[in-house]
């Protein structure tokens, strides 16, 4: 019975209800924290609107022009080196917070994108070219070059490992 109700509500709504519930409980202990967090939430929401628009547009374009066959050729099992490169470059140039990209990646996986490439994409989101000068300012050029090299290298190793552990249909 409970399972049926939960299924009907949907896991995404249950998640939101639980978070709202957490906020409600916190109201009793620290109301000012809740108020500040809600203001912060509004700021964050406004900040992600550009990324929201970009992801929506990309999902629309992929839905329009990329069928399973084409997706598989580019980022599926047959993709080879091309797939790794697309995932690395895509991750580096992508913008906005990481969670904005989950629906697009889930959509692409349904069409045949490899788990390994999803991992590579997500890991390379940590390599942000516009932010490199800031990192160089704090830690110096040699540190940033070495770190960036290892991050890209290990994104591939992580992709291979996750791909082997999490089996895909």
């Amino acid at each position: 019975m409970i399972n049926k109700i939960l299924e009907k509500i949907g896991s995404q709504w249950i998640f939101l209800i639980l978070v709202v519930f957490l906020y409600l409980i916190l109201c009793f202990f620290n109301l000012s924290l809740v108020k500040e967090s809600l203001v912060g939430f509004t700021d964050l929401f406004l900040k992600i609107i550009p990324a929201f628009v970009v992801v929506f547009f990309l999902m629309f374009v992929f839905s329009l022009f990329f069928d399973s066959k084409k997706t598989s050729e580019l980022i599926g099992r047959q993709a080879g080196i091309k797939g790794w490169l697309i995932a690395i470059i895509g991750g580096i140039i992508s913008m906005g917070p990481i969670y904005m990209w989950y629906p697009l990646l889930a959509d692409l996986r349904e069409k045949g994108m490899r788990n390994a490439f999803i991992v590579v994409f997500l890991y390379n989101r940590a390599v942000k070219i516009p932010l490199l000068p800031m990192m160089i300012y704090y830690f110096g050029l040699p540190f940033v070059v070495i770190l960036t090299f290892y991050m890209i290298l290990f994104s591939i190793i992580n992709g291979i490992l996750v791909g082997k552990i999490v089996k895909q249909n």
């Binding site: 989950y102 300012y137 991050m151």
Partner: protein, 138 residues
């Protein structure tokens, strides 16, 4: 696929995603307000073996823009915290997402999310060791 059909499919995908997105934003905002920057400074012990691990743990739980992790990392450096610990902290910050884990699990699968974040955590430690080691050799 037709234009209208593709648009409606995308719109439907976004409708499914909206509650998860709002939930994650609420959690991220709460963690940003609940954990002050001063908290991070007090975590480290000065132990060269323990600090990288602590850095990776704290970086995994933290959420926010990567720039914030660079600024905090820069402040750590001035306070004499080891580069190994700072690198692990920054790497975990940008590659592991404990707060985003429910959203990642719901959209990409629980096993995928747990394995990816687990491996990213270990990678943060390995890459930080390799980076500092290479830096001393160069």
């Amino acid at each position: 696929m037709e234009l209208k059909q593709s648009f409606l499919k995308t719109l439907n995908g976004f409708k499914q995603m909206t509650p998860i997105l709002i939930g994650v934003l609420l959690l991220v905002s709460l963690s940003l307000k609940a954990i002050p920057k001063s908290f991070y400074t007090n975590v480290f012990t000065g132990n060269n073996l323990l600090d990288p691990l602590l850095g990776a743990v704290v970086g995994s739980v933290a959420a926010g823009n990567p720039v914030t992790s660079y600024i905090i990392g820069g402040e750590f450096l001035e306070q004499g915290i080891s580069l190994l610990a700072i690198t692990a902290f920054i790497l975990a910050w940008v590659s592991v997402g404990v707060i985003q884990l429910p959203a990642e699990s719901l959209m990409l699968g629980r096993k995928f999310a747990l394995v990816r974040n687990g491996i990213s955590f270990l990678t943060a430690l390995v890459v930080s060791i390799l980076t500092v080691l290479t830096l001393t050799l160069v």
